[in-house]
């Protein structure tokens, strides 16, 4: 467990003694301190401090545990045999079997174990969620910081474009894009990424505007810093926490979006996801046939993962956003 320096330990007193006493400038210290080592020490401490606070949040810890379980399942799915979801290979298995010891979550109308479907689905759902989020964050951060830092006409122009994207009905756009570009995972990821960055850009821009006003930004300008230096050394590190907590919430939204698209039949027909499993169950009239497990299992996964991401997001938000912490 990393040590968190608190209280008097880190309180270093300044020179004590009569004012005006002659001060010798001592020779620089012998111990070798490289800037890189200092940067790493700082990062380690930042992470340690974050974890120290995060651990106190019950909500955040529950969310984290759920996420770790799903992440474990997804990793397991990566190395397991996807053949188990091939209908051609499951002909010998009972169809629409209710949950039992052999089939803990029952089987579907091809006799495929719903548990296998859910496990394979977790891999795809999490992958789509993460990659789409990375795209969202990259576009949102670059656009948001550019607009916030370079105010004026540039900012106004960028923000109008953002507004257009913001009011685009994403579902309609998704349907159109899927129709044009075809239905595969890459397209799904692109659709989600391209439609969800505007809200991130707005958030980042607002945060940039407020960080930009800080005196230390002016101080670095007075030191002769370039715009790039100011952005990378002062603005980005101070906007980062907000981006981080927003990222976690965005993953949840991306997973939901993927499920919705798959459910509407816009997903990749060859990959198993939670959304496509629900879609198939729905088309096969699972409820009418009494095969509730077929619908419930993937739905529960979606709810659990989205809930877990939201919980982690809120917990992170509370740490990085001091105003929330005071409440």
């Amino acid at each position: 467990m990393p040590q968190i320096p608190v209280g008097p330990e880190v309180h270093v007193a300044v020179r004590r003694g009569p004012p005006g006493a002659p001060e010798e400038v001592p020779p620089p210290t012998v111990r070798k301190v490289s800037p890189r080592r200092i940067r790493w020490a700082r990062r380690r401490r930042a992470v340690a401090r974050f974890w120290h606070q995060y651990r106190k949040s019950k909500m955040g810890m529950i969310g984290l545990v759920i996420l770790l379980i799903f992440a474990g399942v997804a990793v397991f799915a990566l190395f397991s045999n996807p053949a188990a979801t091939n209908p051609a290979l499951t002909t010998g298995q009972p169809r629409l079997h209710s949950p039992s010891l052999t089939y803990p979550l029952g089987t579907d109308n091809y006799g495929i174990s719903v548990l296998t479907l859910v496990i394979q689905g977790s891999k795809t759902s999490l992958l789509v969620g993460f990659v789409a989020t990375v795209i969202t964050m990259l576009i949102g951060t670059v656009v948001g910081i550019a607009a916030g830092y370079r105010s004026g006409v540039f900012d106004a122009a960028i923000m109008r474009v953002t507004d257009v994207f913001l009011v685009l009905p994403w579902l309609a756009l998704a349907i159109v894009l899927a129709a044009i570009l075809g239905q595969n995972l890459t397209v799904i990821i692109m659709i989600i990424g391209l439609t969800s960055w505007p809200s991130t850009a707005r958030l980042v821009r607002a945060q940039t505007l407020s960080v930009k006003e800080h005196l230390y930004v002016e101080r670095s300008r007075a030191l002769g810093a370039s715009g790039w230096h100011t952005v990378t050394r002062h603005i980005l590190p101070n906007v980062m926490p907000v981006i981080l907590s927003n990222t976690i919430l965005t993953v949840a939204i991306a997973i939901l979006s993927e499920s919705a698209l798959s459910f509407l039949g816009l997903g990749d027909p060859f990959s198993v996801t939670w959304g496509s499993t629900i879609d198939k169950a729905f088309s096969a009239a699972a409820l009418t046939l009494g095969a509730w497990w077929w619908l419930i299992a993937p739905s529960a996964c979606i709810v659990l993962v989205v809930l877990a991401f939201t919980m982690c997001g809120f917990a992170t938000d509370e740490i990085v956003n001091p105003r929330l912490r005071e409440r």
Binding site: G7, H11, A13, V14, R15, R16, P19
Partner: protein, 329 residues
């Protein structure tokens, strides 16, 4: 009888990291028509005392000792009595006054509200009184219909003073009332407060970090360090002929223009005020004291008579060391 009489007041804030003693046994009196200046650096507990007198603390805060306001112990008052005492017994003028006015209400109505809340008068009567109060604080009565944003900083502070006077309190607590103001406006407000205090025979507790302001308005000065009063006495004496090394260092931060001793010779103390959770043993000032000697780190001084109506908590005062060691035995 004193208007305000504080005895052995201790205030401890409760935090997740344990109790933080902000005030550690403070005793003082303020008479009618007297201004007591309470000075010290940030975190010394001076504002805590102001808030304790009106019991404006969070519920978990531990307050010990007695605070007699017009002979009645504030710490034992029932909620209803306390509310009444809070504006008609003692009122407070804050530093943040510039933001304490409701921006969407006319200033006159805000004064009227202060009066009618305490059921001292009907609406019409209160309005007349509000006009009179404005004149008293040197504002034209027509300002009564202005909104706060139409007033300058100095004028807003005058409105806050008028509100503090609205219910004829016997004690006014002024917590850094002029800190945010410009020097000339500050001088105007200080003169106004001094004049009102004389005219109305108020008792006033004037809290600030700016010792030179206190010299202007107070009759007596009390200097606080780390939750305790370290020197107390007539303002002139304390400022110009300090007996406590800390007071002397503070006073040196406000040099007299023309005094050649200060020319090109800024003087200050090394170090910083102590962490309230980690107060040094003995005299809490000894680690920074230029005159500290061996006993200072082990013997805790109390306030000793130091001549000219003054008391100082320093072992260098004649007889202090002996009496402190006696007391400890």
């Amino acid at each position: 009888m004193s208007v305000l009489s504080v005895r052995d007041l201790s205030v401890t804030y409760q935090t997740t990291g344990g109790g933080v003693p902000a005030v550690r046994g403070v005793t003082f009196d303020i008479d009618r028509g007297e201004v007591l200046g309470l000075a010290g650096e940030s975190g010394c507990g001076k504002s805590t005392i102001g808030a304790a007198i009106l019991r404006l603390h969070a519920a978990a805060t531990k307050i010990e000792g007695t605070i007699l306001l017009d002979g009645e112990n504030v710490l034992e008052m029932k909620p209803g009595r306390l509310r009444a005492a809070r504006w008609s017994g003692a009122s407070i003028v804050f530093q943040g006054a510039l933001h304490a006015l409701n921006p969407v209400k006319r200033v006159g109505d805000q004064i009227v509200e202060a009066i009618t809340t305490h059921q001292l008068a009907g609406d019409r009567e209160a309005k007349v009184r509000a006009g009179a109060l404005l004149e008293q604080v040197g504002l034209p009565p027509r300002r009564i219909d202005d909104y706060p944003h139409e007033l300058s900083g100095g004028q807003k502070q005058r409105i806050m003073i008028a509100m503090a006077l609205a219910c004829n309190p016997s004690l006014v607590i002024a917590d850094e009332p002029t800190t945010a103001l410009d020097v000339i406006v500050q001088a105007q407000v200080l003169r106004l407060m001094r004049g009102l205090e004389r005219e109305l025979g108020l008792a006033m507790l004037f809290i600030t970090h700016d010792l030179s302001v206190l010299l202007e308005v107070s009759d007596r000065l009390a200097i606080m360090y780390a939750g305790k009063i370290v020197e107390e006495g007539p303002a002139e004496q304390v400022f110009h002929h300090s007996r406590h090394p800390y007071t002397a260092a503070l006073a040196a931060a406000f040099p007299e223009i023309g005094d050649i001793r200060f020319r090109h010779r800024p003087s200050g103390l090394g170090g910083d005020p102590p962490d309230p959770q980690d107060i040094p043993p003995g005299c809490s000032f000894h680690p920074r004291c230029p005159k500290a000697f061996e006993d200072c780190s082990s013997v805790e001084p109390h306030l000793y008579p130091a001549g000219d109506g003054r008391r100082a908590a320093c072992l260098l005062i004649e007889g202090a060391l002996a009496s402190a060691k006696d007391g400890a035995r």
